[in-house]
Symmetry: none
Subunit: 216 residues, 4 copies
């Protein structure tokens, strides 16, 4: 993915000072929570000066945003690859695979994303940054909804399903689980997590209403 047209290439080929700052911020956020993460501590942890932080990022919010972007990791690639999976394997397998990646991402950013609600100014600034760059949480929902719609056209998804609603339910489910796991400070094994997510996917796949005996 190096050298793509991505203007905000925080994953690869990045200035080492930038990288140090982002990693330091991520580490501190996870350990202490946003309200204890000061620019001073970040600079110290990164081993650079506080001035350097403002040389590379307009403000603290922009640094936080970079942390979020870098945390997307696999999830972004999987979202990008989703259109190619239309008609492949089963819908359930595809959704489950996607949701695992989503969860991994969400689990990392819950401490940041939720912290924003503690500071309306930071929240507003984040909104600004996201809209400046034309991205945001709704993007993931839209991409998955588009996938479901494509499968709908193939008859692999119920014709009367609202793709947006189903998509939001799934992402919300994994995000909620991520918040929950953080809240309880529980460190679940990968297996348990996978099972949780699979159960959500399955519940949504089959639906709540009983199906007439026959198929399934």
């Amino acid at each position: 993915m190096a050298g793509t047209e991505d203007k905000y290439n925080y994953g690869t080929g990045m200035n080492p000072t930038c990288q140090k700052l982002i990693l330091a911020t991520e580490r501190l956020l996870r350990r202490d929570g946003l309200s204890h993460v000061t620019t001073r501590k970040i600079a110290q942890e990164a081993g650079v000066s506080e001035g350097a932080l403002y040389h590379h990022f307009r403000d603290k919010a922009e640094l936080l945003h970079a942390v979020v972007l870098i945390s997307m990791g696999d999830f972004r690639e999987i979202l990008d690859g989703l259109p190619l999976l239309v008609g492949q394997r089963t819908v359930g397998e595809n959704l489950e695979h996607m949701l695992q990646a989503a969860f991994e991402f969400q689990f990392k950013i819950v401490p940041i994303a939720c912290s924003l609600y503690a500071d309306h100014l930071l929240l507003a600034r984040t909104r600004e940054i996201l809209s400046e760059r034309g991205i945001g949480p709704q993007c993931s929902i839209t991409v998955i909804a588009a996938y479901l719609q494509a499968e709908q056209r193939l008859g692999r998804v119920a014709a009367d399903l609202k793709p947006e609603a189903a998509s939001q339910l799934l992402l919300a489910g994994s995000f909620h689980k991520a918040m929950f796991d953080h809240f309880l400070a529980r460190d679940l094994s990968e297996d348990v997590t996978r099972r949780h997510l699979r159960e959500m996917v399955n519940a949504l796949l089959a639906g709540i209403e009983p199906r007439p005996a026959g198929k399934n």
Copy 2:
């Protein structure tokens, strides 16, 4: 607060100054977000002196805990009526009705609940308090899951549904929407909100998988 028999008796028989402080804090938390709620603003909003705050609470954290406790306390009551609906009307109607109430509550507490993630100490202490009192987000999930299980026994819900998973999906969906609405600072009409929630319920009711033509 001195010497009553209920250690967490923040609702009744409380010193009026205490009560004023707690209510003022709750109002401010909702309005401004944790990081802008200062002891000075709290005292002003409550109409007492800053010093008084420290007569009734050891420190700001203790006051915040009291507020969190009160705010979260309603969790249980929200769903008390649910068991009575088993077998009544349709499952869809019952769930939708429940989700509207849940959303209203969640929308109110998002700024407070999310703020907790900004401060790991506050989060840890809240975790302890809530688990001590046997409340918290898991309660809601359990109650709804119990309702679904009861309906399952009546055959009104698919036999192979995992009630916990479906329940979490729904609550997560509305919570996610609440966070989203706050993030975008959008004030949706009641109608639009109702439609959003109904679409989620419907998506989960019918499921993603296509149903064989015929009944339903």
Copy 3:
């Protein structure tokens, strides 16, 4: 003047901390110039904490404003007393007396007033403070113009004089001299200053145009 309705009573009966801060600011401004006068230095010089500064003044601009107000000293009283002088002594004597007081005030505030132009934000904030309180430099001009108008009605001032213009000329003249004395860092004797000011008053009194021989 103690106990008047003046809401911003910075001269008398003032909180000693306030007074210390104002005096310290005045001293430092005179010595170093605004751009070297930091809130930290002010607090040190005043022998109080930096926090105390912000306890008594909303921001640095408000403190500067207080310094200006306290510097008005006699000038304000003389302006207040001007209406009573209508018809008394000669117009020249009255104006000269007023201008001496104006100069004393202006000489003190030149370093502050001019410094504001170095910082557009501070300038804007000052404009805000002044308009909040309904005061400003135009007030002095107006008061003196009113005096001239009253004398006009008595025939002691030329009927076709524009009072505002004459008033501004005088105040501008002494302000300009104050700037000039500061610029040259010259410490003129009171006598020389008095003569300068008297010459300005006289020039304006008699006018530039030659008078027909006869009276005067």
Copy 4:
């Protein structure tokens, strides 16, 4: 700048980078006020690197001095034409015309000239430079005073007028107006400005004292 014969040759035969820096600084000073003119902004505005600034000027102060010098340099030229007007048209017309030009110049330099008062070191250094070159505000006063004296000899100006005092009153009046317009951030039409200045000239021409009925 290196090794030319004119120590203050900032206008001609100068290194283009130097020139760009000086012009950029002047523009910014006028627009933003001294305290917001940073070396970074200067370099950006000049289209060179921040480092280049330090190749051509020992420090920021030296650059500022160069700018002040250039800005103030016009002082002398403004009034060069005045001696030629002695005995021409009316004294009032001549003064009014001169004051319009003076105002235009003063309005431009107010932000720079006043900013000097924010930094006593800068003020002192400017004082030295200006007096070394024999320029400064006193020059304008002297030139106008000389004009008035010449007219006095022709009987077109009252014999007992102190030319210096009248001259300073006028220049002070327009400078004061310039400061005022900046302070109020008001952008007056040329017509209004012209009227303001004309009223000042007229007030000074006719004087405050009533004239015996009859001529004039």
